[in-house]
């Protein structure tokens, strides 16, 4: 099974957790939680504490919203939440600013000018639904239901997804796979028969040695991961960081390897060479659980530290020393599999190398390694069966990318829209993702949108993609609405509830309401048999032995903890063709791909150009938080990190404004220089998400530069279709 782990699929469909045990493990943390008056919202005096879960990023920590005299005051972590342990990250704490954001969408809008002109007429919800329903009916009769596509990010898209499935299409895609973690999960699926997932199955807090390869924990603020990383630092775990930039995590490291960008795979293969040639790997583990060791040994024998030195820029002795350090602490050496892994187009193979490193160190299934997770089983709502699409999905015809499409294939759906092949895609719904900033090559997205008869954007802020929509539907923010239940795979299974803490300030509506009302306009009432979302949630929760009433008070219910390690009774089963950890992949061999990763050189910058690298800042999420005034108060523009010597050569100093021009002549907005000793001389770095050009985002307009505009080139991973984006080069233009 290529696209979704069969193991996970089986778990999802089997009721494995006794609901009764879950009930007894709940603790009441919030007393006196009251229903918010959805009509007035302001009538209640004093302080109310209302549990919900966060949506400032995808981690979805459980939170408690504080309402003081009817106004939103603050948001704190829910102490019984296994993800946050009562402590939210800066974005979660700053969620208050999303409610008060003066730039948020307020009313439904209908396009008046050309796509992208951002000219609108304010309409009623009913007028908006009439417009959309008419277009959708036309598309269905003229082209077929499959000609509607849906791009979605985040759990909030669930109800809209249901609507579109009921309408008859499965052309549904999420950038979280092809533009983020897809290569990593594909690689682990191939190697172990199971994915890393999110929240990741990483036992950071118990690791004695942690290897971060381009993973900038502390700047990417995945709450649980950062909390556990901090514990590891406190416990004096040996930390090895590989990054062209001295990241925050690198400043905490015992070993920092300032690698030449694009050569991570070379380093990984060389580490394998050292672990094997010096007999440092976990022999018993490999013998017991792994397949293809001899082939691996033969293959990596060529990758000596002396070979790697000119390739990676890392001295042979440092490569050997770090390999020995990892072996010293095995099996509690965690080679972090990372998350955002679409870098160079051979990313699944790099993910494979990470997976093989973990096997050589014997850490899958071991304390401080990659551990077992389970899920709180909440049955899905008993909906009638969806209509079966008449045509296969348009995003990955003939399975061009054999491992593609676990969450739909975004750029494939875009290409189908652009080319009309294998069949025309005439309508898009876009939920919660600023596609122009999440997919590479913005122009391709703009060109594809010109082919559409209908573009509906549902969001909370007027992102750039909204500027191209025919209809913009303003959703209430997460603190103002009910949403789907959240029950992820985690070491401590749980289910959490999102419920409104405060009323929306304008005519914003929740996704469930939008889906139901539009469904009714489309004659799809039978797919929305519930009166309102409370009835929907209560039905599902009752099937899981819970109820909406108790969840509204507690916010979180805990499930039964699974055995985390082999030693605790987690069965070492691997859902691969050989039933073993495949160091040598029989599946890849069968399909004609390298069964063991090989290093290939990537293009390097021309003189005067620098590789454009991008990442995250802890106080912002994607391109959707740059108008949140609590967050802009701590960061309101991004900077371009330039090595201090390079900056001097270009006569630039910190604080200067410049523009970045890429290899295709695309010029960015102006951006502030950060001349720094924290980055190599052959690359520059900017935080993703800034550089907005939507005039409706008044608080963010033209503040900083967008990496997305400069990513005109991308290299597609032949295995799963992910878009490698670290292959663009920029030079500096000083302002006249």
């Amino acid at each position: 099974m290529n696209s979704l782990s069969r193991r996970r699929f089986l778990k999802i469909s089997g009721a494995s957790i006794a609901a009764a045990s879950a009930l007894t493990s709940m603790n009441s943390v919030v007393k006196g939680a009251q229903k918010v008056s959805e009509k007035t919202g302001k009538s209640v005096k004093g302080i109310q504490k209302i549990p919900t879960y966060c949506s400032m990023c995808f981690w979805k920590c459980s939170a408690i919203g504080y309402v003081r005299d009817g106004k939103l005051w603050k948001v704190e972590g829910n102490p019984i939440d296994p993800l946050s342990a009562g402590r939210l990250c800066p974005r979660g704490t700053g969620g208050v600013g999303a409610h008060y954001d003066p730039d948020r969408l307020k009313y439904p809008l209908l396009r008046k000018g050309k796509r992208g002109e951002e000219k609108w007429v304010q309409v009623t919800w009913d007028e908006a639904f009439e417009f959309i329903a008419k277009k959708m009916k036309n598309i269905k009769s003229q082209y077929g239901a499959e000609s509607m596509g849906f791009f979605s990010h985040g759990i909030g898209g669930g109800f809209i997804k249901h609507l579109l499935k009921a309408y008859g299409t499965r052309n549904i895609a999420a950038p979280s796979f092809d533009q983020c973690l897809g290569p990593r999960d594909t690689a682990f699926e191939i190697t172990y028969g199971d994915v890393i997932g999110g929240p990741e199955r990483t036992d950071i807090e118990n690791a004695k040695c942690i290897v971060l390869l381009g993973s900038h924990l502390g700047e990417n603020m995945h709450n649980t991961q950062v909390q556990e990383f901090s514990k590891a630092v406190e416990n004096h775990a040996s930390i090895i960081v590989v990054d062209p930039r001295l990241s925050t995590a690198a400043t905490k490291a015992k070993f920092y390897l300032p690698i030449k960008p694009g050569t991570d795979l070379a380093l990984l293969l060389t580490w394998m060479n050292v672990l094997i040639s010096e007999n440092l790997y976990d022999k018993d583990y490999i013998e017991k659980y792994a397949f293809g060791f001899e082939q691996l040994k033969a293959e990596v024998s060529q990758y000596t530290p002396e070979w790697a030195y000119p390739v990676t820029g890392i001295k042979p002795e440092l490569i050997r020393e770090t390999a020995r350090e990892m072996a010293r602490y095995k099996p509690s050496t965690l080679v972090h599999p990372g998350r955002h892994s679409v870098w160079y187009g051979d990313d699944t193979q790099r993910g494979r190398a990470l997976a093989i490193m973990s096997a050589l160190l014997g850490n899958w299934g071991r304390k401080g390694g990659l551990i077992n997770q389970d899920v709180f089983d909440v049955p899905s709502y008993p909906y009638p069966e969806y209509p079966k699409p008449k045509r296969e999905n348009a995003d990955n015809p003939n399975r061009k990318y054999p491992f593609g499409g676990a969450e739909g294939y975004t750029t494939g759906l875009r290409e189908a829209t652009l080319t009309g092949k294998p069949y025309p895609i005439k309508g898009w719904f876009v939920y919660g993702t600023n596609l122009l900033y999440s997919l590479p090559n913005m122009q391709e997205t703009i060109d594809a949108m010109q082919k559409l008869d209908l573009l509906v954007v549902i969001d909370v802020v007027p992102s750039e993609i909204a500027g191209y929509a025919d209809v913009v539907l303003p959703e209430s923010i997460y603190l103002e609405r009910y949403d789907e239940l959240f029950a992820p795979y985690f070491k401590q299974p749980f289910v959490s509830l999102r419920q409104p803490v405060i009323a929306p300030p304008h005519d914003q509506k929740p996704g469930w309401w939008i889906a139901k009302k539009l469904g009714e306009k489309l004659g799809l009432q039978k797919y929305f048999p519930w009166k309102d979302v409370e009835e929907y949630l209560d039905t599902r929760l009752k099937m899981a032995g819970l109820s909406l009433k108790e969840m509204k008070e507690k916010g979180v219910a805990l499930g039964e903890k699974p055995p985390l390690y082999f030693e605790e009774g987690w069965e070492p089963e691997f859902d691969t063709p050989t039933g073993k950890i495949e160091l040598y992949s029989t599946h890849l061999d069968e399909l004609g791909y390298d069964p063991i990763p090989k290093f290939t050189k990537h293009e390097e910058p021309q003189p005067g150009y620098f590789r454009l690298l991008f990442g995250r800042a802890p106080m912002h999420s994607f391109s959707r938080t740059q108008t949140n005034r609590l967050l802009t108060n701590v960061m309101d523009e991004n900077e371009v990190w330039i090595n201090a010597d390079v900056a001097k050569r270009f006569e630039l100093k910190s604080g200067d404004y410049i523009k970045l021009k890429n290899q295709d002549g695309i010029v960015s907005n102006r951006i502030k220089v950060k001349a720094t000793e924290r980055i190599r001389t052959d690359c520059v770095y900017i935080v993703h998400g800034f550089g907005h050009n939507s005039r409706m985002l008044k608080g963010a307009y033209h503040k900083g530069a967008s990496d997305s505009r400069l990513i005109t080139k991308y290299k597609v991973d032949p295995l799963m279709g992910g878009t490698g984006m670290n292959i663009n080069f920029v030079t500096f233009e000083t302002e006249a």
Partner: protein, 179 residues
């Protein structure tokens, strides 16, 4: 007597600014102002540069020049733990305290009085940690009583290398950074 202060572990701090945002919501700090902030200090050449990340705020000094210079007595030591506070009603906004503070911890609130970190005295009185301490996802911040040798903050100072900011200013600051 108690002497309240903070110990902040720079090894664990990642500079995420959660402390700053939690302070703003907890204390309704007006937008554009901050009672605490993050400083990152970088030294040395790549790739051997060293970086120290500091979460900074009013040091609640035991010899606070802001208290001495205040002409009206608005700036004062609170009964509990020597926390340095500003009585809004007595403050005339003359800014003498702002001039005298070596840490730049004070600002004029849009309503006219001088404002700054209060160690969240309203929370401390309820037995809670200040908002910045209780929100920190890295658990790098600790609040407590330096006069109690058994307090967590006292023990941390006994067991770890540490420094304070601008000790040469002679204000006896009560925030320490573990290195």
């Amino acid at each position: 007597m108690a002497r309240f202060g903070m110990v902040i572990d720079t090894r664990k701090c990642v500079g995420c600014t959660d402390c700053v945002i939690a302070c703003e919501t907890e204390n309704d700090v007006p937008n554009g102002f901050a009672r605490d902030w993050i400083v990152q200090i970088s030294n040395g050449k790549f790739p051997n540069a060293q970086v120290e990340i500091l979460s900074e705020r009013c040091n609640h000094c035991s010899d606070a020049p802001c208290v001495t210079t205040c002409p009206t007595g608005a700036s004062h030591y609170h009964d509990i733990g020597g926390i340095v506070l500003v009585n809004h009603d007595e403050c005339i906004g003359c800014k003498a305290c702002i001039e005298s503070c070596p840490y730049g911890a004070r600002f004029v609130h849009p309503e006219g009085y001088v404002d700054k970190c209060t160690f969240c005295v309203h929370r401390v009185e309820e037995g809670l940690d200040p908002a910045c301490v209780s929100v920190c996802p890295t658990h790098c911040m600790h609040f407590g009583d330096f006069d109690d040798p058994n307090s967590e903050v006292s023990k941390l100072l006994q067991s770890r290398k540490h420094h304070s900011l601008l000790p040469e200013a002679g204000t006896t600051p009560n925030i320490y950074y573990l290195t």
